[in-house]
């Protein structure tokens, strides 16, 4: 048995050390392979110790909200914004696995493919594989890997189905909830859940009728409510500024230490 654990892949310590070095050097194939290993062997996260000492003060930003509200499109805009500042960005986009077949249709990155050729962007889709809480079991580990690989901002898109989205609160330094106008009941439901934990609320689809209403409604209850049109990028600089402003009043730790204060 290897000192790291009993999983077959953990027995090849030398191979793992090489993999870890490649990850630290930013090798994309190595990053992808390590994330898969962590997804496929939930007990194997001891391997992360090999990456220790690589904390770089990465910012982890969670994006949540009901399906269709525009999370992926907002994430796409934020990636573009940070890339203009030459910041390396990692994206982890989570979708739900079928509880019947175990299969999943992972389509978040359809909205992000304009970044597929950018060496400074890494996008990974993850299926929940039965894990509850809004993320995949291995999402935190994957964020740790991306931090070690030198990504300075990590955007995490949750599955966005509602009240039991607790994982993102622990993992991210800041949580943005995306709402669309005309989702009256959903907004009511979110008040009890997602909106309570969010630091910033975004009323996306600000171009649609009803946006003003939704905005006014939410502002009666919450301090940080912004309007965006993610399909055009309107409001995104303001959102990025609000994220930065929020983070400046908190000390940013590294992945895994989020929310410790």
């Amino acid at each position: 048995m290897s000192p790291l654990g009993s999983h077959p892949f953990l027995c090849d310590i030398r191979g793992l050390k090489i993999l870890a070095d490649q990850v630290r050097a930013g090798n994309v194939r190595a990053i992808s392979r390590l994330i898969s290993l962590l997804e496929n062997h939930p007990g194997g996260r001891e391997v992360l110790r090999l990456l220790n000492g690589t904390s770089r003060g990465t910012r982890v930003i969670g994006v949540t909200g009901y399906p269709g509200a525009g999370k992926s499109t907002v994430v796409n805009c934020l990636v573009a914004f940070y890339r203009r500042q030459r910041v390396k960005v990692g994206v982890l986009a989570i979708d739900i696995s079928s509880s019947v077949t175990g299969g999943a249709l992972l389509g978040d990155r359809i909205r992000m493919q304009e970044h597929a050729l950018d060496q400074g962007v890494y996008i990974r889709s993850m299926a929940t594989r039965g894990h509850h809480g809004g993320l995949a079991q291995a999402t935190g580990d994957a964020a740790f890997v991306l931090e070690a690989a030198g990504y300075e901002v990590i955007l995490i898109e949750t599955i966005g189905v509602g009240q039991n989205e607790v994982d993102i609160v622990d993992l991210a330094h800041i949580v943005v909830a995306v709402v669309a106008p005309g989702l009256g009941d959903e907004v009511q439901a979110m008040k009890a859940g997602l909106l309570e934990v969010a630091h910033i609320i975004v009323v996306n689809k600000g171009d649609l009728p009803g946006a003003d209403n939704t905005l006014r409604n939410l502002r009666e209850w919450y301090p940080n409510v912004l309007r965006t049109v993610a399909t055009t990028g309107e409001g995104i600089p303001e959102l990025a500024a609000a994220i930065t402003a929020y983070q400046q009043v908190r000390s940013v730790g590294h992945v895994g230490e989020a929310r410790s204060c």
């Binding site: 392979r33 999943a104 389509g107 050729l117 996008i123 889709s125």
Partner: protein, 135 residues
Amino acid sequence: MAVASAHLRILIGKVGLDGHDRGVKLIARALRDAGVEVIYTGLHQMPEQIVNTAIQEDVDAIGLSILSGAHKTLFRRVLELLREQDAEDIALFGGGIIPDEDVTTLTADGVKALFKPGAPMQEIVTFVKGLKRQG
């Protein structure tokens, strides 16, 4: 849960200027229902985007749908990029409107299989399930 195929990851997408997306969506859904994790890229991808995405997503294989007539150029370009990126362990297959003689040449070039209209879905699913890489 279909444990055996639970971690099979397949990229499904469309390359080039080709808006026919009924077939590709059918395939994506059938594979999901068969227990596959399907990463769908949507329309109008360049071969470079497909290959970069496949590497980031660590998929076992790439399945492309082409009804535009540009299949020879596009499949060959993807094969070439996989070679360049040292990613030949990722299999390439596909489907669409592709004449028989082109199926023959492309499979000789290294495309694993091509499915035409009318191919039984079960046959496609069984083929894809055999694409899981080792390790």
